[in-house]
Amino acid sequence: MLAGHVLGLRRSRRRAGRAAVRGWQEAVIDRTFAAVVLDWGVVVVPDRGASLRAVRSRVEALCADGVHVAVVGGTGCADVDGRLRVRPSGPGRLLLGLNRGSELFEVKADGPHLLRRRVASEAEIAALDRVSRVLAGTLASRGLDVRVVAVQRDRSKIDLVPEPSWDCPAETRIGELGAVVAGGLRQCGFTDIRDVVRLGAQLAAQFGLSDARVTSDANYVEIGLTDSPDSMRDILAVLARVGIGPGLVLAVGGKPGSPDAADGSGSLLRVRQAAVSGGDYPAGGFADISPAGGGLQAVLCLLDEQLRRCRKRRVPSVDEDSAWTVRVTGADRLSPRAEESLFTLGAAGFATRGSVEEPTGQSVPLTLAAGAYLGSGPGQHLLPGPRWTGLDIEPAPGGDLRMLDLRTGVLFREEESGNGPPMRSLRFASLTLPGVVALRAEASVGRLRAGSPLQPPHDARMRRGRIRDWHWARVGGDGGPGIAAVAWQRLGRDGDTRTVERVAAYVADPRRPPALSRAQEMASAAGRLGFERVLAKHRAAWAQRWETVDVRIPDDPAAQLAIRYALFQLWCNTGRHDELAVGARGLSGTGYAGHVFWDADVFVLPALVSIDPPAAQAMVRYRLRRLAAAKARARAAGREGARFPWESAATGEDVTPLSGHVGGDMVPILTGQQEEHVTADVAWAAVRCAEWTGRSMHPARPGCSLLAETARYWASRCRHDPGGAAHIDGVIGPDEYHESVSDNAFTNVMARWNLRAAAGAAERAGEAGSESRGWRQVAESMVDGYDPVTKRYEQFAGYYNLEPLLMEHVAPVPVAADVLLGRERIAASQVIKQPDVLMLHHLVPGEVAPGSLRPNLDFYGPRTAHGSSLSPAITACLLARAGRADEALAMLRMALDLDLGDLTGMTAAGLHMATFGGIWQAVLAGFAGVSVSGGLLRVDPRLPTSWQCLQVRFRCLGRRVCVTITPEAVTVGADGPIRVQRAGSQPRLVSGQVTFGRLPESGEMNDA
């Protein structure tokens, strides 16, 4: 999308020019930018000797207000800095992109500092010389009088009109000069100067300068190693590292950056450009840009405009990059409540739904805190906190654009129709100040009123008050969890526009009213920094986050964006590093009451450990701190060890409801009693976390006690038949269509893994004894339903005797088959809800028979209804591992659309965290084939046909890793030494980066 706004101004008298520019600004550049780039040529034109005091003061003021400024020019630092003499005090930075893109400086309080210099090699210098001589010779042979002018070591120039009368012409004669050049060229058979430029580019490539910059001026053709767009690219790269994308940059000058999109410079197209040079400034190669006027005066007006917008607290802009933004307009709305879920923002264990600011009957505004549960038993639910996003806007906005910028973690809204200043808002949950949230909003005066910054949650009591300029509010407490918030807000006015700036700080405690003083400290800290700096730090933190963890799929931008969305919401709905309870819907809604299922241990944690390892450890800590409750539960059932609940909340007791509905039919809920595999899942997650982070399961570590206690449970849970085989009766596996089954393969094999893992941990610690030997014996005797002839696992005892119903005879998948046909009908058939046996191949491939993935996929795949939202992503992972990557991609797309397309019809109640975790696992473990065990990173990719390149960045073994996969090669890079093994090769210690050739894909990942 060509996002540049190129504006032309006619030259006019100074006063009229100012008025014209002001009107133009108000009408068109109604944006608040984070950075301004000035063309040095415009700044010093028309009078190169004039004082730049006016520019200097504005640049210093912008930097002081946090706006970054850059200057791009063809001359050197001595000239530019010598005249500009800005010494910024920050926080905004001043960058100088000089010498036609060959140098980049940053100016600090003590002067310029060189950041980068492009130095030509001797070979390049020789090549430049040859190109210019051959080009000049060619032109001369066609009758043109030219002269080679070598200006710098990294470029050469050819003067097409080497006459003294045309040396340093005045700006007013540039047009005349251009006509002379054009006439001369036509006489020699050239169409215009662009022919000469093309010839120069061909010669440059011929002489080994494939990346040469060949440009033209009025009467020069220049061949160089860099050019002005290179300055812009360098500047954009610096800004990108602090979260400022091209769409947040205003470029002010006579020659905007190149509009061509070569070399990935498409980012230049999103820079907002204002051409304000005066006179007949040649358009160069940019035929669609009109020469403009206004000159330095227009520059000063633009800078003043941005200063004013900063100081009037206008809503900042957003970089509308389609690779990073989730947009909803009036034309493509989901239900408003589903949209609220999609636009959830969060950090540090707090999250806020993306409800619109004004009250509507449809809205469910909500702020939740991880781990703060209210109530008891199955009725426990997350405590809703004070609301901070409400505003009074009358009339309410009609059509609007809402945009979630994943790269910088902000939610932007802009009214698309109506009279007067449009309503806008921007909000974020600070990544650098835990618990701090902020918003700015604007609309026409009389239409926008702030109201109270903290409002009560729906159907809940809230205490509130004021302390001077601060508002405070508290919910809960009284012997239970509490959430408190402190907020301040400022109302302002900028002409006809009312502005509101609001900052709130949240604290929560799962057991008692939290101290307001902590919230006030955070709010004060935010206040001292100011909104702009808090936002700047937040943007920079998100940029750093995406630098460490990301996915790039150039051939599939839609999937790339949706995967980034999954990562984004995993971060937003977790974020605590002390103890972390991740409910099925995270903190994005009331659905599932915040209860914690195996979703967290098996679907979310494996993803989280690769994107935020401390958060994954906090998830394990949540389970560890409820080990006592799990042991009590085991005792109550007459068992030993620890038995974790199917649904968990505040205390670790079982909070599974006793009844529910399948469709409209009320049914008893047996999962609380029977879905016991969760005990092994919890142990598995603790081991996975340890393995992935490179920490061993040392006996001194609490995770080891969890492993031992869960093993004890399984040992006591089994029934031994007269032949000594161990059975587990009366359970429900992941496939919840079949209840009260015996020897569910998943449960039994996970129990076996649990027993072996605990025994192994004890043995490695030198604590092997009768108990650990007993665990091994039970494990060895565990029935698993495996048939070596068919290589299939029978899902549970008697499964093969059920009606062999295939989904192709029922309905297209995914479908809630139990709702469609009734529970009894489905329970009597082989139709299953989601992968059950196949989950073993995903979680514990070492526990299943080699070569058994495909036979079980072939058998159970056609029988799977995928009636669980957990199913599509994990199935994608399994299919990829089985070498069926194209089928896997189709399943992945279903998972990607689950919330973004509201496939469940229930996204309104919250986002599906397990699906997001499954998506990242499908990409990382499925397609990229990444696995970690024994301190070794293994890579065994399986790419779909349509993906020619997949790059994943993630964390493992204490490193930041980047894996890039193409049809020809696999490249692994890390920020420190790491042991890496490409499938089929030997492990090796890698420092930096290593590239492996791709091997033909064959076999299953399990076939070692």
Partner: protein, 228 residues
């Protein structure tokens, strides 16, 4: 003044007029009786009723339902531009006023829009609204995660999208919509069933309409999807 048209055929006097008066109370309109002569054809009878219904003052019509597909009532409901209440033979209104109404919705925006005004009207009149949604092959959800929780999430969202009127409750069933409309109407002791429909008697939903009209034993309000 708005009017409820009571189209009375021979032998249907008290049934049709009685229902018309009850409906009038809800829509705050008067009633106007239209006597349909016995000695005209079904087509002529339908034309007579449609002409009367097209008059500006008429807000809806109440007619007797007949099982014969060639009966005038079916011609009227297929062509009417306004809502029509069909009163089956022997229909019973259990209470002195219409106080409980069953609204089957298939979850499509069209059916919700069709009965939205009717729902609002009924809610303002203090009527107990029961929305019925039947899962069949066309409407079954793709996912139903945990039986302990999915129902609440699904129900809340369905009502918010389709029946945002405060106070409506949702009944869910699986199977044949037509059968369940009749069953639920009986179980809930509904006084009236309100259905939005496409006016095509050959379409799938028409089975629900015919079954509801002929078997539910209570009057059925048919709201054309295009109707305001």
């Amino acid at each position: 003044m708005p009017e409820v048209l009571a189209a009375v055929e021979a032998g249907q006097d008290s049934l049709v007029t009685g229902v018309a008066e009850l409906i009038s109370g809800i829509v705050q309109a008067g009633t106007r009786r239209l006597d349909v002569p016995e000695d005209i054809s079904q087509e002529q009878a339908a034309a007579l009723m449609l002409r009367a219904l097209d008059e500006p003052a008429a807000v809806l019509a109440v007619l007797a339902a007949h099982s014969s597909p060639r009966a005038a009532c079916w011609r009227v409901v297929q062509r009417a531009r306004k809502p029509v209440v069909l009163v089956p033979p022997g229909a019973k209104v259990r209470r002195p006023a219409i106080s409980r109404v069953l609204l089957p919705l298939n979850g499509t925006p069209e059916s919700a829009v069709a009965v939205a005004d009717t729902m609002g009207l009924l809610a303002r009149a203090g009527v107990d609204l029961i929305v019925l949604h039947v899962f069949d092959a066309a409407t079954v959800p793709r996912f139903w995660d945990q039986a302990a929780h999915a129902h609440q999430a699904w129900t809340e969202e369905f009502l918010a999208r389709n029946a945002a009127t405060a106070g409506a409750r949702l009944e869910l069933r699986s199977g044949s919509p037509g059968e369940h409309v009749v069953d639920v109407a009986g179980a809930e002791e509904a006084d009236l069933i309100a259905l939005g429909w496409s006016q095509h008697l050959d379409a799938g939903r028409s089975r629900t309409v015919r079954r509801s009209v002929l078997r539910a034993g209570v009057p059925v309000l048919l709201v054309p999807v295009r109707s305001n």
